[in-house]
């Protein structure tokens, strides 16, 4: 047999195997069709919109000339955009560092509650902040920290009448901490939903076996619960990293005021402001695209690392 026929045979065999596989799994492929049709119709066809970042566009005139990277150049040259960009990264990282582990810890804690009624109550309680808007939440915060009538300055004043009271919602030094803390508080509930669902999916037999082996609560938590959660944690982490540049428009928009905006203005709020003045589709698209590209790069990196550590994990 010559070298070339060998290759051809190999290829033929490979092709035959693929065909065979496809025949065996045709139903799986068929199942993908509705989802694919959906993303093509409602995501991929409209995706030409990202080209607005590279060409002129107005709702009236439609698409205009290609302008290359000039929209990006102009946007990135602006001081206000640079400020928003660096704030964005800082706030995003802080939110990731503090916000990501919190729901895991919270879920583990909720899972420990013995009374099932109390467990349900706490579980319902923690998701509640997701159902009211940031405007209501910040409204409550403003009322709580109001220097004149707020509950917290009231308590401080009672303890120490001489204390100088600062409103932390309008103080440059404390605003970022407040943004991160309130985000962690608000977002924890929805995170616990997924983790608790995953925890209930863990085979009870594992715990029983561990108890027979004499493992304590701590060991069970570490070796069974957390170990079983690992794939979920990794996938959620990758998603979180992909969306890391979304630093929370609604929250920042609601919490902004002229005294603190220099510390918390982010890309989304900045783009919203320039967009509201005049319909600036190109700038908005360019900023969004920059965020997406950063997100994509981070996701691919994280996914690569995850695969290295554990070939079974990751999203791809």
């Amino acid at each position: 047999m010559t070298q070339s026929t060998k290759v051809i045979n190999q290829q033929r065999r490979k092709g035959a195997r693929l065909l065979h596989r496809f025949r065996a799994d045709w139903m799986l492929y068929a199942m993908l069709i509705p989802g694919l049709v959906y993303v093509i119709l409602f995501h991929y066809i409209p995706m030409y919109g990202v080209t607005y970042a590279f060409r002129e566009f107005s709702a009236v005139k439609g698409l205009g000339d290609w302008v290359g990277l000039s929209v990006f150049q102009k946007l990135f040259a602006k001081n206000a955009f640079q400020r928003a960009f660096s704030n964005n990264i800082l706030i995003s990282v802080l939110k990731l560092v503090f916000g990501f582990p919190f729901p895991i810890i919270l879920s583990l804690m909720i899972n420990e509650i013995r009374s099932s009624k109390a467990k349900k109550l706490v579980q319902t309680a923690v998701v509640l902040p997701n159902f009211i808007s940031w405007f209501i939440i910040t409204g409550l915060m403003f009322a709580l920290f109001n220097v004149t009538s707020g509950a917290i300055p009231g308590i401080i004043r009672r303890l120490n009448p001489e204390a100088t009271i600062v409103n932390i919602t309008s103080d440059k030094n404390s605003i970022r901490a407040l943004v991160v803390a309130s985000y962690v508080w608000q977002a924890a509930g929805m995170g616990t939903v997924v983790y608790l669902a995953a925890i209930t999916g863990i085979d009870e037999q594992l715990y029983e076996a561990a108890m027979i082996d004499g493992a304590g609560k701590w060991k069970q938590m570490w070796h069974i619960t957390l170990a079983s959660l690992r794939p979920t944690i990794i996938v959620l982490f990758i998603f979180r990293v992909g969306g890391v540049m979304n630093a929370g428009f609604d929250q920042i928009y609601a919490m902004s005021n002229p005294l603190v905006i220099s510390k918390i203005d982010i890309i989304d709020t900045y783009v919203y402001r320039i967009g509201i003045e005049q319909a600036k589709f190109s700038e908005a698209t360019a900023a969004g695209l920059a965020k997406s590209v950063i997100g994509l790069a981070l996701v691919l990196t994280t996914n690569f690392i995850a695969k290295k550590v554990d070939p079974d994990s990751g999203i791809m």
Binding site: K78, S170, I274
Partner: protein
């Protein structure tokens, strides 16, 4: 479960079908899109009355203000515009006119819209898209003809033995007494002199006008310097003097130190709750709309007994040029099947007294009846005494799109105190440079410059650092980030007017 789901699906399909059938009709339909806050029922009495009068079906869709631009852009891009619609952005307006997407009203004006023609006269050509040679494509809005009044509680003054202040020193004295001398006599230190918040420039108008500074908005407010330059009010010779005065009030706690987080509504609430003695706002609110229902304390029947107006060094607030509010216009779709009919309906709804009565008060005999038509006194009938029911049946909701004209029902029906105070204020307002043409620098840098001004204004009032230094820093930023170009363009455009 399966049965339930299929039932649901059929139901929803039927729902869709019903919608489809309803649109297939013989009489012409005029569709109108406007921004507003009320959602009347689809087939309400006012729309039916309009339809009967014009022999057509009138459909009006009211979109919340905040979402209007997004909706309009989608309709423009997909070429599915209604017959008559509002455009609230001068760049889009210009582009639409240039692209030939707007109907030229000029030839039809005499026949179908005599009231519009009579009302605007030649000033109609002030709009950037209207020209005697090329045609009339947009009618601009007049919303906001009201000027600001600086209101003061007369009963508090009387109680403390003070007079209405006439200059800034007296004002300080009165504000101090309002804050610390228990003007409401409840024994608690729970009052402030004046309600201020960075949520609205209107609250600061009269105070700043006392220094000859016109603060029309917090979005990059402009003034004209002696040499004719039109620039940011930060460059006004008395700007720092005004800031020093505000700092003095702030440090003495004569207004709520949380002025950057208070909402406009919370400022009103302070007035309603008797927690402040002064508020700079249109008396349309203070002595008319809020009176007496909103106030949580006993108020006299006549609002002029409770509230007086303050003029500092004889100056009032600032003038309004709403007649040329060109960023808020309404136009007719060039592709409309019945543009003349749409024009006639617009003319009737917003520019005739009869149409204003219909859109504002509703159908006579159903929603309201006149007590004294000459004096503008009416009463609402039966279940329509309730605002919600009244608006759901189409009254009030469509009244204000075209702007306030002399036919406007609202201005005719205000109480005497308010009408007098508005008239008096107009005599004392200070001027500010109103630029008609949209500036290129505004499109390019407007949002950034606005933010710089807002930050500077708040920071200068509270800063514990060196005021001059902070001021220099912000002014430099303003100049560096497009302000110089803005200044040049604004000066040239204003001089050309």
């Amino acid at each position: 479960m399966k049965k339930f789901v299929s039932l649901l699906l059929t139901l929803t399909l039927l729902l869709g079908l019903c919608g489809a059938i309803a649109t297939a009709e013989a009489v012409p339909t005029i569709t109108i899109l406007m921004a507003g806050d009320n959602t009347p029922a689809e087939d309400d009495s006012v729309l039916r009355a309009l339809g009967e009068k014009f022999g057509c079906k009138v459909e009006i869709q009211v979109i919340p203000e905040a979402d209007y631009a997004g909706k309009l852009n989608s309709l423009i891009a997909s070429n599915t515009l209604p017959d008559l619609f509002q455009i609230r952005n001068s760049v889009t307006l210009k582009e639409m006119a240039e692209a030939g997407r707007l109907y030229n009203m000029a030839p039809a004006l005499d026949e179908y819209a005599p009231d519009i023609k009579a009302y605007y006269g030649d000033s109609i050509y002030k709009s950037i898209v209207n020209d005697p040679d090329t045609g009339i494509y947009a009618l601009f809005s007049e919303a906001g003809l009201y000027v600001n009044n600086l209101g003061i509680r007369k009963d508090w003054l009387a109680k403390l033995g003070k007079e209405i202040p006439t200059n800034l020193d007296e004002l300080y004295d009165v504000l101090n007494a309002f804050t610390y001398d228990d003007p409401d006599g409840n024994g608690q230190n729970d009052t402030y002199g004046i309600a201020l918040s960075t949520a609205s420039s209107e609250l600061w108008e009269n105070l700043m006008a006392a220094f000859d500074i016109p603060i029309k908005t917090f979005d990059n407010p402009l003034c004209q310097l002696e040499d004719g330059t039109v620039t940011t009010i930060m460059k006004h010779p008395r700007f720092l003097e005004a800031i020093e005065y505000l700092r003095k009030l702030y440090q003495a706690r004569l207004f709520d130190p949380d002025f950057t987080t208070l909402t406009l509504m919370q400022c009103f609430e302070k007035l309603w709750n008797s927690q402040v003695g002064m508020l700079g706002f249109r008396f349309v609110g203070t002595t008319n709309n809020w009176y007496p229902g909103r106030y949580t304390f006993e108020v006299p029947a006549d609002p002029s007994e409770l509230f007086g107006t303050v003029y500092l060094d004889g100056k009032g607030s600032i003038a309004k040029y709403a007649r040329y509010d060109l960023a808020n216009a309404f136009a007719i779709n060039a592709a409309s099947a019945n543009p003349e009919l749409a024009l006639a309906i617009g003319n009737y709804m917003w520019y005739t007294e009869e149409g204003q009565n219909l859109t504002y008060l509703g159908v006579e005999g159903v929603h309201y009846e006149w007590v004294d038509k000459e004096a503008g006194v009416y009463q609402r009938l039966g279940e329509f005494k309730d605002d919600v029911v009244h608006r759901a049946d189409g009254a009030f909701a469509y009244a204000s799109a075209g702007g306030y004209t002399k036919a406007n029902a609202e201005t005719r029906m205000m109480n005497k105190t308010t009408q007098d105070a508005q008239a008096a204020e107009w005599e004392k307002v200070i001027d500010w440079p109103f630029i008609i043409e949209p500036l290129e620098a505004d499109v390019e840098y407007g949002a950034d410059l606005s933010m710089i001004f807002k930050e500077a204004f708040a920071e200068l009032i509270v800063t514990t650092g060196d005021v001059q230094e902070v001021y220099n820093e912000y002014l430099q930023r303003w100049l560096d980030e497009g302000g110089e170009q803005y200044e040049a363009e604004a000066t040239a455009a204003y001089a050309a007017q």
